[in-house]
Symmetry: C2
Amino acid sequence: MKNETYIKALLRQPTDRTPIWVMRQAGRYLPEYLEVRRQAGSFMNLCTSPELACEVTLQPLRRFPLDAAILFSDILTIPDAMGLGLYFVEGEGPRFEKVVTTASDVRQLKRPDISTSLAYVTDAVALIRKSLENEVPLIGFSGSPWTLATYMVEGGSSKNFAKAKGMIYSDPATAHRLLDTLADTVIDYLNAQIEAGAQAVQIFDTWGGALAPEMFAEFSLQYMGKIVDGLHRNYDGATIPVVLFAKGCNAHLEALADTGCDGLGLDWTITLGDARARVGNRVSLQGNLDPAILLTTPGVIKQQVGTTLASYGKGQGHVFNLGHGVTPDVDPENMHVLCESVRELSPAWH
Amino acid sequence: MKNETYIKALLRQPTDRTPIWVMRQAGRYLPEYLEVRRQAGSFMNLCTSPELACEVTLQPLRRFPLDAAILFSDILTIPDAMGLGLYFVEGEGPRFEKVVTTASDVRQLKRPDISTSLAYVTDAVALIRKSLENEVPLIGFSGSPWTLATYMVEGGSSKNFAKAKGMIYSDPATAHRLLDTLADTVIDYLNAQIEAGAQAVQIFDTWGGALAPEMFAEFSLQYMGKIVDGLHRNYDGATIPVVLFAKGCNAHLEALADTGCDGLGLDWTITLGDARARVGNRVSLQGNLDPAILLTTPGVIKQQVGTTLASYGKGQGHVFNLGHGVTPDVDPENMHVLCESVRELSPAWH
C-alpha cells in the first residue's frame, strides 16, 4: 500500500498528516459521474455493473488528493437480495415491491447467499481493488440492521418511521427476529467484501437517531455490536478497521465505542474535541465538517478546515471527513479546496 | 384559574398529578379541525381569522382532559408581517414571495408594529382567553430567531439550509443583524400575546439542531437568551413561565437552562431521567413521548406513558407532552388513551 495514512489513522497509529475521504465523494456533484449515470440508464444498472461501479468509484480519486476510495453501491442491496425488489422513482428515493409487515413476512425472509445474489458487489470490490493498484485503501460498507429494517418495513423512505417503530413497540419479538437475520446477513456481506479486497469497512446507521435512547440500545446498537464481533478483523495479513457511523447518535458515543469498533464517524453537531474527550482514548474519530460549508467560499472552507483540525487537536486518530455526504449542488472546485486545505493545514497537528 | 397544574409544574411547584398538553393538539388528526379548515378555504385564512383560530384552539379541549390550550397559529406570522408574503403550496409547506438574501435585504427589514400587522394574532389570543373562562391556561408561542431566519433566507422549507448556513458562515455580520431584528420582534410579539391574555409562552427552535455546536451558541441560543431577558415575566399579578423547545439540541440543555427560562421542551431522543439529572434542579421539563407511539395500540401507549413518568421520577417539575407534534394519521381515540393514562398513572409520582 503506497498511502496507508487512512488505515493508520483509523488504528490510532502516528501519521505525518490527517487523511481525508468524503462520504458520497463519488456522486452527482461530479459531471463525469452524471455522464456514467446517464449511460447506465438507471441507478440500479450503475450499482449492479461492476465495471461502471468501479469507474465512478475511481472518478473522485483522479481529481482530488483523497486518502481512500469507497465502494460505489447502495445500502439497500441486502433487502433487494432478500427478494424485496428494490427500485427507484426519480426524485423520490428508494422503494420496494414487497414490504415486510407481519411476523409471517419476517419468518419467510431468508439470509441470502452473498456469493450468488450479491456477486455484483463483490465483483465490483475485486475490480476496484485491482484498479487502485495499491495507491490508497478501499472501504467497503453496509447499512446497519435497524436502518435496513426501516426501509423494509416502511417499503421505502419515511419521515417518522411509523411502521418500523410500530413493530418495535408493538411486536418486539418479530422486530428482533428481523434485525437478527439482518445482522447475520450484514456479517456475511461485509466479510465477503473483505475477502474480495475491501481493506476497511463502515456501517451506516443513518436512522438510529430517530429512536428513543433505550430503543436505540435494544434495536440498533445491539445488532451493530453483533456485526463488529462477527467480522474478519484480520485478513490476508492485514488488520481490517471497522467504523460505525450512527447519524444523530452523539448521545451514544460511549456505547458505540464499547462495541469494540476501531473508529466512529461523527456528524457535525458535536465538536471533535468534545467527542475525543469522551471516547478518543478508545477509538479513532472520523468527521465532521458540516457539508453545507462546501457551498460557501474557498476562504470559509479553509478556515473551517482549520477549526475542525484544531478541535481534534494534536496527535493521531483523526480521519477528516464531512459530517454527512457531499450534496449534489457542490462545486467540485470547493472539494478540491477542502482536500488541499487538509493536506496543507494538518501536518502541524502531527 | 380552575386548573393551574400546568403553570405550577412549569414553575416547579408541587401538584397532585402531572399535567399534559400536546404539541399540535389542535390539528389535522381531528375531523372537526378538517371541517373548519375546509370552511376557511386556506390555511392562512384560518390563521388570520380570530374566530376560526379560537374555534380550532378549543376543539381538542372539548374531547380530551388537557391541562392547557395553545394558540392556533403559524410560526411564520412574523416574517409575513415583515412584508415577505407568506403563502402555502398544498402538500409542500410554506413559501415566501420575497426572500432575504443580501446585506441590503436585511438592512431594509423593518421591525413590524405588532398592534397593526399582527392584530389578528393578539385578537385571537384575547378571544381564546375569554372563551376558556379560566378553565385552563393559554399558551402563546413564537418561532426562534434562527428558525424564522432559515425560512426567510431559504424562501421556505429546506433540507440542508444551504443559504441560511451560507449567510452565517460567509457574512456573519449580516446574519447577526437579521437575527437581532428578529429577536426584538419576537420580544414585541410575545409580550403582545401576554398583554392580550397568554399565560405562558413557548419559543420553538425547530432547526437549531441543524447547526454545529459553536454556531448554535452564537446564532441561535444567544438570541433566545435575549428574548427570555426581554419578556414580561410577571403580568397582571401572575408569573408568566417561558419554555424553550430546541429540537435536536439535547447537547445544549445546560446552555438552554442558563438563559433563565422556566422550562425546557425535550424531544424523545433523551430520557427524562438523564435530562433531569443534568438540568432538572434549575428548570422544569416538558415531554417527551415519541409521537410514533400514538400510532400503536392503547396497551403500548399506556405502558410507554408509565415508562416516561418513571423516567422523570418522583416530584414536581414535569409537564407531559410528546417529543414533537401529533401527526395527522393519529386516531383521536389514541390521544384519549394518552391523556387518560397520564391522569391515571401520574398521581403515584407526586
